[in-house]
Each structure stands twice: as structure tokens, then as C-alpha cells.
Amino acid sequence: MTPGTLAAALPQFAPLLDPSALLATGGAVDGLQTAARVLAEGIGKGAVYFTIAVGLTLVFGLMGVLNFAHGAVAMVGAYLGGLVLVLVVGANTGTLATILVFFVALALVFAVTTAAGSAMEVALIRPIYDRTPTYQILLTFGVSLIIEELARIILTLRGIQPDPQWQAPMATAPDVLLGRTQLFGVGVRRLYLFEIAIGAVVAVAVWAFLTKTLYGLYIRAGSEDTEMVQALGIDVRQAFTVVFGVGTGLAAVGGVLLMWDPIWGPSVLLSIDVLLYAFVVVIIGGLGSFTGTLVAAGIVGVADSVTTWLFTTGIVTFPGLSEVTIFLLLVVMLIIRPQGLYGVEEVGGH
């Protein structure tokens, strides 16, 4: 979906997608302002990428399981969150109430998917820990196939077309988030500020979970040396279940966050896009590293917004620039420093 067709389909987003609004009009101050705006947008995108990827890195850090169903869960999260909003929010619901409903939806979706993720760990992944990690990749990939097809069936039965974006939840986005706000003389889209705020909350919550709770201790210890943790009498299996559940829940939170973003929007195809971006972020940051994911999400977000800006202003005429740059970042990082920015050499080195 190109920005043009999206703008035609959703007139209220047209100002967001208008490339001329991004054009630098010359002059040092303007140039600086454009740079600041592109940077701010990059951080906004980075916040989204972080929310999507952090669950993946938690699960990998402790268990060495690369969860291929992560994207599918985010897709389900986007739909569930959208469902709650469409059901509750009406035409005359106030802005504050809408945002409140958004957070309720976020919490609800997190709870449901965390439970589902824990159940999945117990039922499907637990039996195959003793096999090579390849089988865990394969299993979760199979699960993602099943989730996607079930989503397609349900959406078709309910008369919501599966492939094009589902636009009802986007329409519930409050008008406040659609405009720009002046920040130090730079006009920044409020939606990005909103995403940065949520990303920050998620980051702080995960950080607190990792450093202040007992399970966080298990995770940090477990990613250093699982066998030693087990030898100390800690029930690593139970920790696995909890962490896998939380990781799945965080994927769904990322999905809910995408629901209002005109660049993403809920569709079944979201599943694979999200998965690939999450992989890029966690690998650049170092699989299993929380700090790494945070930094890498920022890098990928800024790279994304800079390349998008280069393309929309016509400086570079190559349409796939943003995607190519991001995957090139992945390849270059793996060549220079396979363990990623903050990764430990041996974690998951199997």
C-alpha cells in the first residue's frame, strides 16, 4: 500500500502523508529543523520497533528460542485491540475517554495473550527443549501459519476482508493525535509523541521486570548460564513459561500500538512484516540483550525515517530504499559483529 492510496482511502490522514510537508525549503535554520523533525520521527518509529522486538529478545535471552510466531501474535494483538476500540468507541466518545479505552484494550490484550503464550509454551514447546534449536524455530513457525490462517478464516466469516487493511479501528483514533505539535520550534506529529510515550512506558516496565522482580533475576542469570541457575535450585521451567507468556504478551502490545499507525494498520500481512523487523532489531542489538534492543530500535527507527525522508523529497528515487537499508544494516552487523551491539558471544550460540 503506497502512501498515496492510503491518503485517498483515509482523508483524515492526508496531512500526515503529504510529502511536501516534509520538504526542506532551504536555509540553515530550516535544514536544522528538518533534521530535528526527521530525528524525532525516527525516535517515534524506534519506539514502535522496540515495543515489537522486546518480547522476542526476552524469550531468546532466557530460553534460546527464536519465536517465529511473534509476528502472528502482534497481528492478533492489533485485531483484538482494534475490536475493543471499535466496540466501545462511538462517534461522540471524548478524546480522553478514547485514550482511556486504548489503555484498557492494551491491558486486556496483554493479559489474554500472556495467558495464551504460557499455555502454548507448556503444551507445545516444553516437549522439545531437548532437541536442537532448529526444531523450536520450526515449531513456532508452524504455529504462526496456523494463527494466520485462522485469522483469515474468522475475518472472512465475519465479512472483514483479510488482506487489505481493516480501517474501522483507524477511524477511532482521536483527532488530537493526528495533528502536529510545536516542540522547540519543530513541528512533530503527535502520534509519534504518543508512540514514544508508550514505548518509554514499555521500556521502563520491562526494565523494572528484569531488575526488580525475582523472575527478572532468573532471566538475567539464566541468559548467562542456564545450567548453573538450575543447579542452584531455581525452577527454570516455570520461569520459561512465565517469560514466554510475557514475551508473547509484549508482542501483542506492539500490535495494539500499530493499530492507529497509518504506516502499519491491522492486516494479516502485518504478521510477517512485524516478524522481519523484529528480527532485524534484536539481531542488531544482540539477541537476548535488553539494552541492545533499545539502542538498535533507535538506530533502525532513525535509519528508516532518514531513508523515507530521502525518498519522499526525491533526493533518492529508489522506492525500496528504506527496506533495503534496514536489511543491509542486519547483514553488515552480522558481518562485523555477529553477536550484535550488546550481545554476549556465547548466548544462544547453538
Binding site: 524455530i137 513457525f141 508452524g142 490462517e149 466469516l157 528480527f279 547483514v331 555477529p338 544462544g348 547453538h350
Partner: protein, 394 residues
């Protein structure tokens, strides 16, 4: 197995003439699906060649499949420099495969410094970069996201420059044979293409099998089982892995090339995309990881399932719709009529059932169809089956 593939079209045509035709149409794969088994089977085999035998999961294998497919189409349209328009298909096929082999050397030389998950990810990264580049490469056609089409004559499989020993392929453009050798057997264009593609696949299969049974193949297995020990014994494992990857890329490109020749068009999503690799991966696991013929069985299973669940050649949905009485079809099922349920949850839903089967295979039959069969029989099926049969027949 080869005999089965040889006789299948004739048996299928014969069955369609009998009263059992509706059931044959519903449950047996049509010839068009069997053609897919051939090229996807070959691609899955090439994936298994490196991933199943050296243990390195190549998540970007679609890059080679796509290279072969695009090279063939571009060469047929005279768009490849140095390859004039009208060069026989067999030559462009080999050139494309060689190019993919070189590409594999380049990707592999960087990737094989990594192992496990990291190797899978870097190959995926390379493939996605190439995919995005191809999607935006205006040289291919005016609309590169849609891909390109062969504009000229049909492509022929056979001996180059010898017209009598070549067969045109393609569902609509291929040759058809009437009254074969005076036996009164007519072969449609699809069936002729099926045999022509089949010859290529069989040749590739034996070539790969030959390599795997050579000392080189033994080293590949040694790397899979214990790379450190293989290195300690004195093998330069890096070079062996690289060579295996190049060979695998070569055959993957041949699979892409015959696909392009048959379908006469290529699109980035059907060739270079991550999900093409995923298809090969799934069918390989179902058929048997580390058994060269296994992926073909897996693809056969996959295509059989897709055929049964699609309406294109009278699948199970058609059978239900026509066979069940109207009152049953309109029956209410949680607010949805049974007919609507059949239309949405059965028709064309192969990925769902394949996903379920795949998960069950990973959990309970990790060696796949052929691998498990071999474990049970204690050797390859061809060698062991006669003994077992004799024991039961006595």
C-alpha cells in the same frame, strides 16, 4: 518412485474415464499440481542438500530460486548482456544456475563464519535485500513489483539446437502429442511439460545423490554430526560448507529456471520472497530432513493437500457442495451456514491444515515421512522393502 511419477498421468486420465471420476477429481492431485510437485520438489531437495546434510539452516534459499527464474526470463527476452535472444533454454538454464552458484559462494563466504540461528538470519537478510532490490529494479519490466513475463516463443527442454530432441514446455504454449508411437495415447501440453520437467528433476536428483554418496558428501554429514571433530580430523570444513552451499544454490536455481519456463512469468513474491524458502522448509520437514528424496514426498503431500482443498480442479469443497443436500448446506452453525463455512474454512485453506500437520510432525515425527520409514526398515526403502515384503508374503 520414479516409475510412479512416470505412470501417474496415464493412470489419472484413465481414472477420469471411470465412474469413480468425481472422487478421483476430488482426492487425487491434478496434473497441473503434479508439475508444481516437480519444480518445488527440486527446490526443496536443493534446500535439503545443504540444510539437511550439513545442518546449516539456509533461510534465504529463495535467493537462488529467484536468480534462476529471473535469469531465464530475462535471457528469453534478450535482456541479459552477452546472452543473445534465441539462446536455447537449456543453455540459459545452466548459465543462470552457474550465476546462482557464484552468488552462493559470495553469500556463503560471509555467512559460514556464523552458526545456528545467526547463520539462518544472515542468509535471510541477504535474501531480503535482494528481494527488495528486485522489487524496485525498473530494468526487469515497467512494473517490477509485478515481475516479468516471457514475451517470445515457448522454451524447450531437451538437447540444444536439435529440434527433434526438444520439447516445448508451458501449460498453454507447450507441445502436445497425439497418438504417441502409434499406441493411441494422446498427451496434452501439460502432460508433455510434466515429463520434460520430470527429466530435468530426475537428472538433478541423481547428480545430487551422486555428490552425497561421494567422499565429499561424507564430509558434509560429518560436519552436521560434529563439526569440531571433522575439523580435528583435518578437513577444511569452511571450504566444504561453501562448496556444498554453491552446489545447492546451483540446483535451487535450476528449480527456479524450470518453474519460469513452465509458468512463463516471474514475480518477486513468488520467487525471491521469504515464504518461498518457508515452503521448502515445511515440505522438507514433512518429507524427512536429511533424506534427499524426502522433500519430494513432502511437496507431494503439500500439493495433494492444496489440490484437495482448492476448487480449481474439483476439490473436496466442490464434492461437498454438490454431494450434500440443500437442507444440510443451509444448516446453522454458530450463526453461519454450513455452505459459507465450507467456502471459507475448507476451500483453499491448505496452509492451515498444512500448518497443523507440520506442527504435529515437528512434535511427534521429527524425522519426517521418509526418515521414519528408513528408521523402521533399517536402511533405504529401495534396499530394504523387498526383504520385508518377502517375509510377509511367505
Amino acid at each position: 518412485m520414479i516409475v510412479g511419477f512416470l505412470l501417474y498421468p496415464l493412470a489419472y486420465e484413465a481414472l477420469l474415464a471411470t465412474p469413480a471420476a468425481p472422487f478421483a477429481e476430488a482426492f487425487l492431485p491434478a496434473i497441473t499440481f503434479m508439475v508444481v510437485v516437480l519444480y518445488m520438489g527440486l527446490f526443496a531437495m536443493s534446500f535439503d542438500f545443504v540444510s539437511g546434510y550439513t545442518g546449516y539452516l539456509s533461510f534465504g534459499h529463495a535467493a537462488f530460486y529467484g536468480t534462476g527464474a529471473y535469469f531465464v526470463v530475462l535471457a528469453a527476452n534478450g535482456q541479459v548482456p552477452g546472452v543473445p535472444e534465441g539462446t536455447p533454454f537449456m543453455i540459459t538454464l545452466l548459465l543462470g544456475a552457474a550465476l546462482a552458484g557464484l552468488l552462493a559462494l559470495v553469500i556463503g563466504s560471509v555467512s559460514f563464519r556464523l552458526t545456528g540461528v545467526y547463520f539462518a538470519m544472515i542468509t535471510l537478510g541477504f535474501a531480503q535485500v535482494i528481494y527488495e532490490l528486485i522489487r524496485s529494479w525498473g530494468y526487469v519490466s515497467t512494473n517490477p513489483t509485478e515481475g516479468a513475463t516471457v514475451s517470445g516463443d515457448a522454451l524447450a527442454i531437451g538437447v540444444p539446437y536439435v529440434d527433434a530432441l526438444s520439447l516445448d514446455v508451458g501449460r498453454l504454449t507447450g507441445e502436445s502429442v497425439e497418438n504417441l508411437l502409434g499406441l493411441g495415447i494422446d498427451l496434452s501440453a501439460t502432460v508433455v511439460s510434466y515429463y520434460a520437467l520430470g527429466i530435468v528433476v530426475v537428472v538433478c536428483y541423481f547428480a545430487m545423490q551422486r555428490i552425497l554418496h561421494s567422499p565429499f558428501g561424507r564430509v558434509m554429514i560429518a560436519i552436521r554430526e560434529n563439526e569440531e571433530r571433522a575439523r580435528a580430523v583435518g578437513y577444511a570444513t569452511y571450504r566444504f560448507k561453501l562448496a556444498a552451499f554453491a552446489v545447492s544454490g546451483f540446483f535451487g536455481a535450476i528449480a527456479g529456471g524450470i518453474f519460469a519456463a513452465y509458468s512463463r512469468s516471474v514475480a518477486p513474491d513468488g520467487t525471491f520472497y521469504f515464504l518461498v524458502t518457508a515452503d521448502a522448509l515445511i515440505t522438507t520437514i514433512v518429507g524427512g530432513f536429511g533424506t534427499l528424496a524426502g522433500p519430494v514426498y513432502g511437496t507431494l503431500f503439500n500439493q495433494g493437500l492444496e489440490d484437495v482443498l482448492s476448487t480449481e480442479s474439483g476439490g473436496i469443497a466442490t464434492l461437498l457442495r454438490e454431494g450434500l443436500p440443500e437442507s444440510v448446506l443451509q444448516a446453522d452453525l454458530f450463526g453461519v451456514s454450513l455452505e459459507l463455512f465450507v467456502n471459507t474454512a475448507v476451500d483453499g485453506r491448505a496452509p492451515l491444515y498444512l500448518g497443523i500437520v507440520f506442527v504435529l510432525f515437528v512434535l511427534f515425527v521429527p524425522n519426517g515421512i521418509l526418515g521414519t520409514l528408513r528408521d523402521r526398515l533399517g536402511g533405504t526403502v529401495g534396499k530394504r522393502l523387498p526383504d520385508h515384503l518377502r517375509r510377509y508374503l511367505r
